[in-house]
Structure formats: structure tokens, C-alpha cells
Amino acid sequence: MALLSLSGLDVRYGAIQAVRSLDLEVAEGEIVALLGANGAGKSTTLKAIVGLAKATGEITFAGKSIAGRETEEIVRNGLTMVPEGRRVFPSLTVAENLRLGAATRRDPAATERSRKEVETLFPVLAERADQPAGTLSGGQQQQLAIGRALMSEPKLLLLDEPSLGLAPQIVDDIFDLILRLKARGLTILLVEQDAIAALDVADRAYVMANGRIIMSGPAAELRASEQVARAYLGIAAENAA
């Protein structure tokens, strides 16, 4: 039984249809990558799941329909999104950002445990706890954005372009982290433009173009597929090399 399932999802921005009758499933414990070129509708799909973009169609999370619900209610069900561009609260300190991540939690002891875990994953966040988040580097802000999301102890984490705008070695760190999160039992739906890196960590993947899923399957198969290679010249170049 899938943890998250989308069926017949449509998202319209005025006259433009950004997502067309999209079906997608994420099983518990999986990392699923959602790939595609710029403007394919990947980020819009994530926004629709968390209720930040108006959508029609069915969205089920942990057996409950969450379509049309308010963002805050959806998040309270145990799923959250790390938005594209990190979007930490810049004038709030690192500690305050993390505290807001746990805003809905009632048990202070459990929240404190989460904070310790997040600080073990990202030691720099403990070092800079009292610094305004806006003064962190891009990579540190991405760590904070992910740490802040983890503070809510989600069952499902939606990651929107976590590698965007980061230096290559920091991108490697982020993908290592995604694997570590998976090892801890977190389910992840990952939107990425860096298809190679995403397919390396994902179990399965979907490829989008013009708002539709054009193919899907196990990550290893997609990596070998010529169709993906054609969609992603980057892979073709690497395979040829």
C-alpha cells in the first residue's frame, strides 16, 4: 500500500496547464525521484501535494485523502516539503528556524531528541545556532532547510531541487544525506534537475515533460534507458565517455 498516491492530478495556472492527469505513487521507505527539464511541472506537482498550488484529482497520504486541504493541515498529517531555494527565515536565528520546524509538536522531550538528531546530522547548525539564518552560506542554508523539515518528524519528505545553486562537493554531501535519511526509514520524494545524481540515490523514478509523466520505472533501468539519455543529454555524454 502506497504511502502517497496521486491519481489524475491536474494543476492549472490561468490558461496554462502545468500538470496533466498525473499518476504517481511512493511506497513507504522508498526514495522516488521526479525528473524532467525546467518547466516540466515537477515543482508544481510537489506544491500541489502540500496544498500550495490548487489542484484537482485525488491525493492520498497514509490512507487519507488530502486533496483540497489547507497546507497546515496536510503538514500536520506527517508530510512536509523543503521548498526550492531553501527559503529559510533569514532574519530568524538558526535555532529559531529549527524551533518553528517543530511548531506543531506537543512533547518537549521528543522535540529535544529531534533537535539533537538534527544537530548530529548537521553539526554546523549547532555551531551557528544564534546566528541569523540569512548569514549562512547556501549549503548551510540547505542543511538548515532540511533540518527544519526533519524537526516535524515527517513520514514523507518532499525535496524540491535540493542541489540547485550549490557547489559540487556540497551537492555530494546533500545526496549522501538523502541516503542516510533513507537508512533511518524516511520516505522521500525528490525533485531534481541533476538526473544522474538523483537516479544514483533513488529506488524508482518518474520522468515528466510538459506536465505529463512520460516514463517511469526502477532507477537503474531508467539510468540505462536510451529514452532518458535522449531527454537528458548529460547522461548520453557520460555513457558515451
Partner: protein, 296 residues
Amino acid sequence: MIGYFVEQTGNALSLGGIYALLALGLAVVYSILGLINFAHGALMTLTGYVLVGAAVYGLPFLIAAPLAIVIVMASAVLLERIAFRPVRGASGATMLLTSFAVAVLLQLAFQLFISTRPQIVPLPDMLTATLDIGGLAIGVNRVISVVVAVLVLIALNQFLKRTIIGLAMRAAAEDFDVTRLMGIRANRVIAAAFALSGLLAGIAAILWMAQRSSVDPLMGLVPVLKAFIATTLGGLGSLQGAVLGGLLLGAIEIYLAAYLPDAMLPYQGALTLGVVILVLVARPQGLVGARREAAR
């Protein structure tokens, strides 16, 4: 000479403190919703009428004042629910006009159902007494204004730093959607912002009336216009800016009134605005430049 200056500085702090509280009330709401709430003045006026009404029922001031503040906080939340929620996310102009409409409606209601004439606000003698400090006559109301404003600013700062709802309000001012992604209910943050603005309006109104002892349907209009100037001066949407702008505006007004030659006194208002314009020409974003646009 020095005595006069000290006295005027006391006046400047007391007036500036009230402006700062009012400007903060406007800024708290504006920073989250992009709404400039001109009905804020009506909340001040309402505070006065509750005090008048409470006196009719024989309630002592120390009970009537907190009661008035609670009623004003509840009214601010109610205003949001009835008038501002339907236009949430609309353009700035739509929200501005809505707030004007609410302000005018409330003024008319005060005129129709209470009176167009000023009502005496009964204040304890303590508030109207004068202290003699080293030969300087300083009104107790001025001292209380300054002390209360400082205490409120300290408490507000703690509230915004220590409580989840305070943090959520600051976060919502920076990124409303992401605040909701934290599972924080949008309506609750906005209601809290209005309650806080009501609290600040109520306190400011009591301090304002302590220096005037009467309330009329238009009482809140001028101070809120001043508070709006103060928020613009400090930087719209910035809470520090609101405080700074309020204090600065109070100081400009009082010192001009104190030191202008008599022949120039009629121009005090124009000169005050002239100084404000000069500051804004040099720093269009206000003294504490605030980024940000309105929440959806």
C-alpha cells in the same frame, strides 16, 4: 534653559512612545498581510468609550483599563474575521480601501450610537498629578507613558523571541507559505497579529487619553495618521523601524514646537512633514529598510 530642554525631552519621549506603540500595531499587521489598517484609530476611540461606559457602571479604573484593552483586542480580531479576511491576498489598494471603509463605518457608528460631542474619560487623580523633580514640573501621565511604553516594548520583544506564536508572526512576515509548511495555521497567526495590534492600540489609547481626558468619535484619527507617518519613516513592515520612526516623529514634533520662534509656530506641522519628506528622499525604504511583499 537646561530644565526646559529636559522637560521637552520628557514630552518628546512620552509622545514618541505613544506613536511607537501605535506604529508597532500597524506594522505587526502590515508585515504579515500587507494591509495598512486605518481602522486602528477606531480601536483607540473604542478604548475611550469602553472606559466611559465602565465608569457609568462604577467600575474602578484599574479594572476598567484592562477590560477596555481586552475588548479592543477582541474587536480587532473580529474586524479581521468580518472585514479583512474576505480581501486577504487582494491588492494593496483593495485592502487599503477596505480599511478606510471600516474606519469610516466605525466613526459613524460612534457618532450615531454614542455622541458627536466629546465625552469625559474619568481618570484616576494619580494620572493627572504633577511631580516636582528638582524644580521641574513633570506630569505623572508623561512619566507613566514613557515607563509603560518601555515595558511594553520589552515584553513584546520577549514575546516575539520566546513564544512559538511570536516566532510564527516574525516568520510569516518573511515567508507566509513556508510558515504554513511548518504546520502553523495561517488564520491563527493573523488573528494573533490583530489581537496584538489591538493590545497596542488599547494601551496607546489609554496613554493618549491620560493627557487629554476626553474621547470623541474622531479621537483615533490623528494619532493613527501620525503612526502611519512613523511606520513609513521607519520603514514599512519593520517592527524596529516602527519604534524608531515613532520616537523620531515625537521628538521632531515636540522640539519644533518648543524651539520654533512664535511667528513660525503655525508651520510646525508643515515643518515636521518636511523633515519626514527629507528623510524619505534620502532613504525611500525608511530608516530601517524592510524588504518583503504581502502574504497571499
